[in-house]
C-alpha cells in the first residue's frame, strides 16, 4: 500500500497529466477552453473568480516553495525554522482562505444560478469533488497542525516529493506523516491526474505570449485548402516591370 500510494500513484498521475495533455492537444483542441459561464451571470463571478484564481496561484507558489526549497537553502539566507513556520502559516493560510472563499462562492453560484447549473456537465461535478476536496483537506491539514512550530513537512513530505524527481522515491518518509496531509497528497495527485480530462486544462493555456506579440495578427489562408495561385507569365502581368525592379 505504501509503495502504491507514494511511489506508483505519483508517477501514474504524472504520466496521466503529460500523456493526457498530449492526447487532448492532438485530438480535442476545440474543447480546450475555459468554458466560461460569465455570459449567464457576471456580478458574483467578477468577484469570486479573481479571488479564487489569485488565491490558488499563491497556494501553488507556496507548494512549490515548501516542497522544492530545501531547509538548507532557507537556513543559508538566514530564515530559521520559527520564522519559516510563521511565514508558511500566515501566508499559506491567507492564500488558502482566498482560494476557499473563492471556490465556495463559485460553487454556490454554480448551484444556485439556473443557467449556470444547467451548463454544468457531469465531468465538471466530478472535477469539483476533487478540486474542493484537495483544497479543503489542505486547509484542514494546515490548520490542524498550526500550534507551536506546527507540523514540519520539510523533513518528510518535501524530501519525499523531491525524491520523486530523482526517480528514487523514498516511500518510508511518508509513513509517519499525519493522516490529513496524506489524504491531501493523495487527492491532490488524483486531481493532477484529472487535469487534462476536465476543464482545468485551461490552466495550461495561460496566454503569456500576448505580452510580446504584435496587436493585429495576420494569417494566410490554409494552403491545404486553397493554395496560392501560380504566378502569371510575364506577358500577362498588369504592368511592365521597371528595369532592375525585382520582387
Amino acid at each position: 500500500m505504501t509503495v502504491f500510494l507514494w511511489a506508483v500513484l505519483p508517477y501514474a498521475a504524472f504520466v496521466s497529466l503529460v500523456a493526457g495533455l498530449v492526447w487532448r492537444h492532438r485530438y480535442d483542441r476545440f474543447g480546450w477552453t475555459t468554458r466560461s459561464s460569465q455570459v449567464y451571470e457576471s456580478r458574483l463571478l467578477n468577484i469570486a473568480s479573481p479571488v479564487f484564481h489569485y488565491g490558488i496561484l499563491f497556494v501553488l507558489a507556496g507548494h512549490l516553495i515548501g516542497l522544492f526549497v530545501p531547509e538548507s537553502w532557507t537556513d543559508a539566507i538566514g530564515v530559521h525554522e520559527r520564522a519559516y513556520h510563521l511565514f508558511s502559516l500566515y501566508g499559506g493560510t491567507l492564500a488558502g482562505a482566498l482560494a476557499v472563499l473563492g471556490i465556495g462562492a463559485l460553487v454556490y453560484r454554480r448551484r444556485t444560478n439556473a443557467p449556470v447549473f444547467r451548463a454544468t456537465t457531469a465531468n465538471d461535478k466530478f472535477m469539483y469533488v476533487f478540486l474542493v476536496g484537495a483544497i479543503l483537506l489542505g486547509m484542514a491539514a494546515k490548520l490542524a497542525h498550526s500550534t507551536g512550530t506546527g507540523y514540519d513537512y520539510r523533513h518528510s513530505l518535501a524530501p519525499w516529493a523531491r525524491s520523486l524527481f530523482r526517480l528514487s522515491p523514498e516511500t518510508g518518509l511518508m509513513a509517519d506523516v499525519p493522516a490529513l496531509y496524506q489524504a491531501h497528497a493523495v487527492v491532490g495527485m488524483l486531481l493532477i491526474a484529472l487535469v487534462p480530462y476536465t476543464r482545468l486544462v485551461h490552466m495550461f493555456s495561460a496566454p503569456v505570449q500576448y505580452l510580446v506579440r504584435p496587436y493585429v495578427v495576420y494569417r494566410s489562408r490554409d494552403p491545404e485548402r486553397l493554395g496560392p495561385r501560380p504566378d502569371r507569365p510575364g506577358w500577362e502581368r498588369a504592368e511592365v516591370r521597371q528595369p532592375g525592379g525585382g520582387r
Binding site: R29, F30, G31, W32, T33, T34, R35, S36, S37, Q38, V39, Y40, E41, S42, L45, N46, S49, P50, F52, H53, Y54, A114, P115, R118, A119, H202, S205, P207, V208, Q209, Y210, L211, R213, Y215, V216, V217, Y218, R219, S220, R221, E224, L226, G227, P228, R229, P230, R232, E236, R237, A238, E239, R241, Q242, G245, R247
Partner: protein, 525 residues
C-alpha cells in the same frame, strides 16, 4: 507602400425597408445552433434605438475600440496587455446574454399533449438558458419600427450625444419622429480591436482578403474580444465556450459568391468588392488626433487601383492579377473613394471599419412634396437637407464622429443625382450647375445613378475567386503524394503509419468466404 487587398461592403440605407431577410438567412446559415441562440451575425436595427446588444454604442460602459493615450498613441480602451492578463480571471466589461436578450423557444408539445379541458391550449415561452417558463421582455429587435420609442428612445446613446450638442433636434412626439434602418454585420476592420484584444492570438485578419476570423482550435474562451469590439459583433458561444463572429461568408467569397446577407437582400442595397489599401498607413491613420479627421484619414489609406504605381506595388505584394482587376471594377471603391457617398460607421472607434453606409435621404423628398414644393428640385433639396426629418446631427454621430460636413456632402450628391436624373428622364435640358454644385460632372452623376439604381448582380458583387487559378493543384491533392506501398517512414522503410490500399468490406468478406468454405460451390458466392 505595402499594398493589401480587402473585401469590403457598402450598404445603401435609402433602400433598406427593414424586412430582416438578411438577418434571417444569415441566422439559418450560421447561427442556428445551440449556444448561439441569441446571436445574430447580421442584425437590422431601427434607429433611433438602443441597438443590439442594448446600448452597445455606450463605450464609456463597454470600453470597446481604441483610444489615444496621453502621448497620442493608440491603446485599447479596455486596457493594455498587462491589464488584460492581470484581469483575465473575469471580464468586468463583458455583456451578459441578457444584455442581448434571453433566448427562448415555445412549449409546442403542450398544443397537442394538453389534457382535454375547457381552456384552449397555448404554447408558453420557455427560456433556452434554464429551461423554465419565462416572460419575454426583450429581443434582438424589441424596438423595431420605434416600438416603445416614447419609453425607450431616450436610451439610444447616439440620441444622448446629439441632445448634448443640439438639444432640440431629436424628438419622439409622433408627428416629429423619424426613423431608418441600420443593418449591421462585422466590420472586418483594418485595425481590428477584437484581434488586438485576443490574449490567445486566436483571432486574425486574413492576409489575402482582410476577413477577420476566429481560429476555433486556438480560442480559449477568455472573452476579451467581445469587450474589445466596439460594435459588439464578436459573440460568445455559451455551449462551446468559444468566440464566434461573422465570417463574411468566406466559403462563399472564396468561390466568388456574395455573402448570404447580400445574396438574399430584397432591397438589393448591398455592394461587395475589393479595396486596395496601404497597410503601412493604417496605424497612423487610426491614431489621427482629431476624431473628425478619421474619415478623411481612412480615405487616405485606400489606394487608387487606376494608378499604375499602385498596380505595380500590388503585384509586387503578390496580389493576384484578377484581384487588381476586380479592384478597378469594384463598386465599393467607386462609392467610397470616387463618389464619396458612402461613410464608415462610427469612425471614432478608431478601428477603421470596412462596411460603409450611404446615409438615407428618402424622407426628405416626400416631406418637401407634402409642403407643396417641388421635392426633386435641386435647390429645394439642398436647402431641405439641413431640416431633414432625420437630423443631420444624428447621422453625423453615426457616420462621421459628429461632423455634419461629410454627411451633408453625401446627401447633397444624392439630391443632385435625383434632380439631374429627373431632367434626363423627362427629356428636359440638364443643368450642369446641379452636378457642378456637388463637384461632379454630369456623366459621373449618371454613372453613380447606374450603380445605385440599376446595377445588376455582377455589378453589385465584384468578387474575385480564390481558387480558380489553383484548380489543378486541388485536383492533384486528392491523390496521395507517393505510392502507398513503398517509401520511407520515420524509422526506415515502410515504418510509421501507412496509407493502406482501400479494401471494401464486401471484398473482404468474399475473400474470407472463399478461403474458408468447405464446398467449392460455396466459394463462388
Amino acid at each position: 507602400m505595402r499594398v493589401m487587398a480587402q473585401i469590403a461592403m457598402v450598404m445603401n440605407l435609402d433602400k433598406c425597408i427593414g424586412c430582416h431577410t438578411c438577418s434571417v438567412t444569415c441566422k439559418q446559415a450560421w447561427t442556428n445552433r445551440r449556444g448561439m441562440e441569441y446571436v445574430w451575425f447580421n442584425n437590422v436595427e431601427t434607429r433611433p434605438g438602443q441597438g443590439y446588444p442594448r446600448r452597445y454604442e455606450d463605450q464609456e460602459k463597454w470600453r470597446g475600440g481604441w483610444e489615444l493615450n496621453r502621448r497620442g498613441a493608440l491603446r485599447l480602451k479596455a486596457g493594455g496587455r498587462f491589464r488584460k492578463l492581470a484581469g483575465i480571471f473575469s471580464n468586468p466589461r463583458l455583456p451578459e446574454i441578457k444584455d442581448y436578450y434571453e433566448p427562448w423557444t415555445y412549449d409546442y408539445r403542450n398544443l397537442t399533449d394538453a389534457p382535454l379541458g375547457t381552456d384552449y391550449p397555448v404554447a408558453r415561452p420557455v427560456s433556452q438558458l434554464d429551461g423554465k417558463p419565462m416572460k419575454i421582455a426583450w429581443s434582438s429587435n424589441w424596438d423595431d419600427n420605434l416600438g416603445g420609442a416614447p419609453a425607450y428612445g431616450d436610451l439610444d446613446p447616439v440620441v444622448e450625444r446629439v441632445r448634448r450638442e443640439a438639444s432640440d433636434k431629436v424628438r419622439f412626439a409622433y408627428e416629429e419622429s423619424f426613423m431608418f434602418y441600420l443593418p449591421r454585420i462585422c466590420e472586418h476592420c483594418l485595425n481590428p480591436s477584437c484581434v488586438a484584444s485576443c490574449p490567445s492570438g486566436a483571432m486574425y485578419k486574413r492576409a489575402e482578403d482582410g476577413i477577420v476570423l476566429v481560429d476555433q482550435d486556438r480560442c480559449r474562451g477568455w472573452r476579451m474580444c467581445v469587450t474589445g469590439c466596439p460594435y459588439k459583433k464578436v459573440y460568445f458561444n455559451h455551449r462551446t465556450g468559444k468566440a464566434e463572429k461573422c465570417t463574411f461568408c468566406y466559403p462563399r467569397i472564396e468561390v466568388g459568391q456574395p455573402t448570404v446577407c447580400s445574396e438574399t437582400c430584397v432591397g438589393r442595397l448591398r455592394y461587395l468588392g475589393v479595396l486596395l489599401y496601404d497597410a503601412d498607413k493604417v496605424t497612423a491613420a487610426a491614431g489621427t488626433a482629431d476624431e473628425r479627421g478619421l474619415y478623411e484619414a481612412q480615405l487616405d489609406v485606400f489606394l487608387d487601383p487606376e494608378d499604375p504605381a499602385v498596380r505595380r506595388a500590388a503585384e509586387a505584394a503578390d496580389i493576384p492579377y484578377d484581384w487588381i482587376e476586380a479592384a478597378r471594377r469594384s463598386p465599393v471603391h467607386a462609392l467610397i473613394s470616387r463618389y464619396r457617398v458612402a461613410l464608415p460607421l462610427h469612425p471614432e472607434y478608431r478601428t477603421m471599419p470596412m462596411v460603409w453606409y450611404i446615409p438615407p435621404l428618402s424622407p426628405v423628398v416626400d416631406a418637401l412634396t407634402e409642403t407643396g414644393h417641388d421635392g426633386e428640385d435641386a435647390g429645394n433639396l439642398f436647402g431641405a437637407i439641413d431640416t431633414l426629418r432625420i437630423p443631420l446631427e444624428y447621422l453625423a454621430e453615426l457616420f462621421a464622429a459628429g461632423d455634419t460636413g461629410p454627411v451633408r456632402a453625401s446627401l447633397e450628391k444624392l439630391a443632385a443625382m435625383r434632380a439631374h436624373m429627373r431632367a434626363v428622364n423627362l427629356g428636359e435640358e440638364t443643368d450642369p450647375g446641379v452636378a457642378g454644385a456637388v463637384g461632379m460632372a454630369p456623366d459621373e452623376i449618371e454613372d453613380m445613378y447606374r450603380l445605385l439604381a440599376i446595377a445588376k448582380y455582377e455589378e453589385r458583387y465584384v468578387i474575385p475567386t480564390a481558387a480558380v487559378g489553383d484548380a489543378h493543384r486541388l485536383e492533384a491533392s486528392a491523390l496521395p503524394d507517393t505510392c502507398a506501398v513503398d517509401g520511407d517512414g520515420p524509422f526506415g522503410q515502410d515504418s510509421g503509419r501507412r496509407r493502406l490500399p482501400l479494401v471494401p468490406v464486401e471484398n473482404f468478406h468474399i475473400l474470407r468466404r472463399r478461403q474458408t468454405a468447405d464446398e467449392p460451390s460455396d466459394r463462388e458466392v
